[in-house]
């Protein structure tokens, strides 16, 4: 099944990344001389993939350096150089990438609508299929029918859920869930949270409180905090990563909606600047649509 999922990811990526690598090919074919114009155009192509200005510059500078130093003029080699520069960035921090130690509690955070709740269903489904017993905590007590949404997923996946009414204190839901998971010997407790824009101090404080409660349970649980990012978003995702990382030191990122046409280039500057590993990618709305992030493949597909 893993292969099928990867195929799915690959197909969706190939379809959309074609334009990206196609353009680089075009550039390399037409420009011939690697002058300033060439690099300026390269910069623009990278930006078009949501890679952002700073990382784009870094990629260009590195590529320029290598090409000059090694006196590379061959078109294919230039392409490989760019590819390898990108791959190096993507592979950064992968040593931080680790297997989950049970019993574990996973806190899922992110801005509104990125796919947190759906991702929780996917994670629950994945861990369950690996033979672990999973529990969900309905920590989004703010959004209308958010609890019901998670409940439906819990039911579909076939895992228990700890909940309270809409409007309840989310920290108390998390607290109750931690107690329940402890006594029921749950392997993995996954906590949903309300979407919040990272520039809202009061909401970030609320999150920090939930985070503290989870940290207090670290005598029993290994704690993981994942930020969910929408692949469609632009440079603001950098700001999201920075702020959420400050408030709840992030262990990883889950990049959703890669089945769309967005190129997901934002993960390059994120890895580059904040050194947070990307754990999984979301490739659809179903509970099977989750795939482990593979930097090598990702870079390869990007330039295929």
């Amino acid at each position: 099944m893993a292969e099928n999922l990867f195929e799915k990811l690959k197909n969706s990526l190939v379809k959309t990344k074609k334009s990206f690598s196609g353009k680089i090919d075009q550039l390399i074919n037409y420009s011939g001389v690697y002058d300033e114009d060439f690099f300026e155009e390269l910069e623009e192509i990278l930006i078009l993939s949501d890679i952002g200005y700073e990382s784009t510059n870094e990629i260009i500078e590195k590529t320029r350096e290598i090409i000059t130093r090694e006196n590379i003029t061959d078109k294919v080699k230039v392409k490989n150089t760019i590819k390898s520069v990108v791959r190096d960035i993507l592979k950064k921090d992968e040593d931080r990438h680790r297997e989950i130690n049970v019993p574990a509690v996973i806190l899922i955070v992110g801005v509104n609508g990125v796919g947190k709740t759906t991702t929780i269903a996917k994670l629950a489904n994945m861990y369950k299929s690996k033979g672990m017993n999973v529990m969900l905590a309905a920590g989004d007590t703010f959004r209308a029918a958010a609890v019901e949404q998670l409940e439906i997923w819990a039911d579909r996946v076939g895992v228990p859920i700890i909940k309270n009414a809409q409007g309840a204190d989310p920290s108390s839901v998390i607290y109750d869930a931690l107690q329940a998971a402890r006594s029921r010997k749950t392997d993995i407790l996954i906590c949903d949270t309300a979407g919040r824009l990272h520039n809202k101090d009061n909401l970030m404080k609320e999150l920090s409180k939930m985070n503290k409660i989870i940290n207090n349970s670290s005598d029993h649980f290994s704690v993981y905090r994942y930020l969910v990012l929408d692949a469609t978003s632009g440079t603001n995702a950098l700001s999201q990563a920075a702020t959420f990382n400050e408030v709840t030191k992030l262990d990883g990122i889950i990049l959703t909606k890669l089945d769309g046409s967005a190129k997901g280039g934002i993960i390059i500057p994120i890895k580059n600047q904040y050194h947070i590993p990307v754990e999984y990618v979301g490739v659809g709305e179903g509970m099977d649509d989750l795939q482990e992030f593979m930097p090598e493949d990702f870079a390869e597909i990007l330039f295929e």
Binding site: A145, Q149, T232, G234, S261
Partner: protein
């Protein structure tokens, strides 16, 4: 992040040359690279940026440089104005169907904020004393219907839902029928989020649209969207022909370049901006504010505004000069009136003028309502009369009164006011002939 330093960089680049004359190719070239990057960093789509910058080049070349601006600042001013007009210039309005029911359909990607926006929109429309129905057509996302029901309850709008029916096209038809039978003024269709590249689901939207014939087909777009905003908006527009856009989650810290991308590829107005999670957090979209947010050169723009104000002050000084030389005419007087009109309380302004205490103002009629009348009177005068009011005899007064729809007394009063102002001007120009302190505005 990156662009915090940009404004100051720009300042440095353009410090040298004080404006005078026209923008040269070199001026523009120096400025556009920075502007291009600023727009890209704000997530404006690359292709949009490219064609935009090209337009700017054409527009800016040979344009006059405001005396107090540098060429760089002048280019930014042109860019800012151009961005504003690209996003519609003026705030757009959601029009109701002149007869019968107004049908609104909300569409967009997953997680764009359609359901919340549907609720906000219902609340907004209710304020116009309209009876609003919310129709729950998202049969896919778990608890989406429930979400709309809760929201509908919160804003006090009825929700049409059918949890048994799995076909959103059927639900939409039934909802419209229900709305007509129960005399609703407006019905808002909340549709499921979908990828623009998902052909089956896009066709479903086409279907719904055909069946309910919306007056407004509104794309909801997350203001944090990156380069793809263009493809999303273009595809939705091609498939189901949008009529407008709502920008969501603008209360975040995104620069929101997607707004520009979407506006420029669809040519459709941005009607509202979502500014928070509360159901009242729906605001009118102001193109000018969005332009400066996207451009991200707040301090430069402030500077430009100030320069503009200084420029106006210069004109005021010119005017004073005229008065001192006794060349203050009714034509100038009219211009003053026009400026005064947008400046709030006339008396307050007069009182702000250094040297013009309550005493000096005594006897001057400052009824603001008279502005309009005064303007009309002056408009009815011949140029000769305006330049030389002493020739306005009784006959002329009668003619002017008739032409402006006023009475002869009104004409007399205006002419008297004008003479008083002229005197007062002379006094003040004697008081402060060079430095004006805080006084920025010309007065009568």
């Amino acid at each position: 992040m990156v662009f915090e330093g940009l404004s100051s960089k720009l300042q440095d680049t353009f410090k040298k040359l004080r404006g005078k004359g026209k923008l040269t190719e070199k001026d523009i070239k120096e400025a556009t690279r920075e502007i291009k990057l600023a727009l890209l960093e704000a997530d404006v789509n690359f292709k949009v940026v490219k064609s935009f910058v090209k337009n700017i080049n054409e527009r800016a070349l040979g344009a006059d440089v405001l005396k107090s601006l540098t060429p760089g600042q002048q280019v930014i001013k042109i860019v800012n104005d151009e961005l504003t007009s690209l996003m519609g210039g003026q705030p757009a309005k959601l029009e109701y169907s002149p007869k019968g029911i107004t049908v609104i359909m909300l569409v967009g990607l997953q997680g764009a904020g359609k359901t919340t926006t549907a609720g906000k929109l219902a609340g907004h429309i209710k304020k116009d004393s309209k009876k609003v129905l919310l129709a729950a057509c998202d049969v896919y996302r778990p608890a989406a219907i429930k979400q709309l029901q809760v929201i509908g309850n919160q804003v006090g709008a009825e929700v049409f839902a059918d949890t048994e029916e799995k076909n959103p096209v059927v639900i939409a038809q039934n909802a419209l029928k229900y709305a007509k039978e129960h005399f609703f003024d407006v019905v808002i269709f909340d549709t499921a989020g979908r990828l623009h590249i998902d052909e089956a689901l896009m066709n479903e939207l086409v279907d719904i649209k055909e069946k309910v014939a919306p007056d407004h087909t509104i794309l909801n777009i997350d203001s944090m969207t990156g380069q793809e905003a263009v493809n999303v908006a273009e595809t939705f527009n091609d498939k189901i022909s949008l009529s407008g856009v709502i920008l969501t989650k603008l209360d975040g810290d995104t620069r929101g370049g997607a707004a520009l991308s979407v506006a420029s590829v669809t040519g459709k107005p941005i009607l509202f901006a979502g500014m928070g999670e509360k159901l009242t957090d729906l605001e009118i979209f102001y193109p000018d504010r969005m332009a400066s947010r996207i451009l991200g050169m707040g301090d430069v723009l402030t500077l430009i505004e100030k320069a503009q104000a200084d420029f106006d002050e210069e004109k005021a000084v010119e005017l004073q000069e005229k008065i001192r030389k006794q060349t203050f005419t009714l034509e100038d007087f009219k211009q003053q009136l026009a400026q005064m009109k947008d400046m709030g309380s006339f008396k307050d302004i007069l009182e702000m003028i250094p040297g013009a205490g309550k005493k000096a103002l005594k006897g001057i009629d400052v009824d603001e309502k008279e502005f309009v009348r005064s303007e009309a009177i002056i408009n009815s005068m011949t140029p000769e009369e305006r330049n030389n009011p002493s020739i306005i005899n009784a006959n002329r007064r009668k003619r002017i009164a008739a032409g402006s729809g006023t009475r002869v007394q009104d004409v007399n009063k205006l002419l008297k006011g004008f003479e008083q102002s002229k005197k007062m001007m002379k006094q003040f120009s004697g008081l402060n002939n060079k430095k004006h302190g805080k006084f920025k505005f010309p007065f009568m």
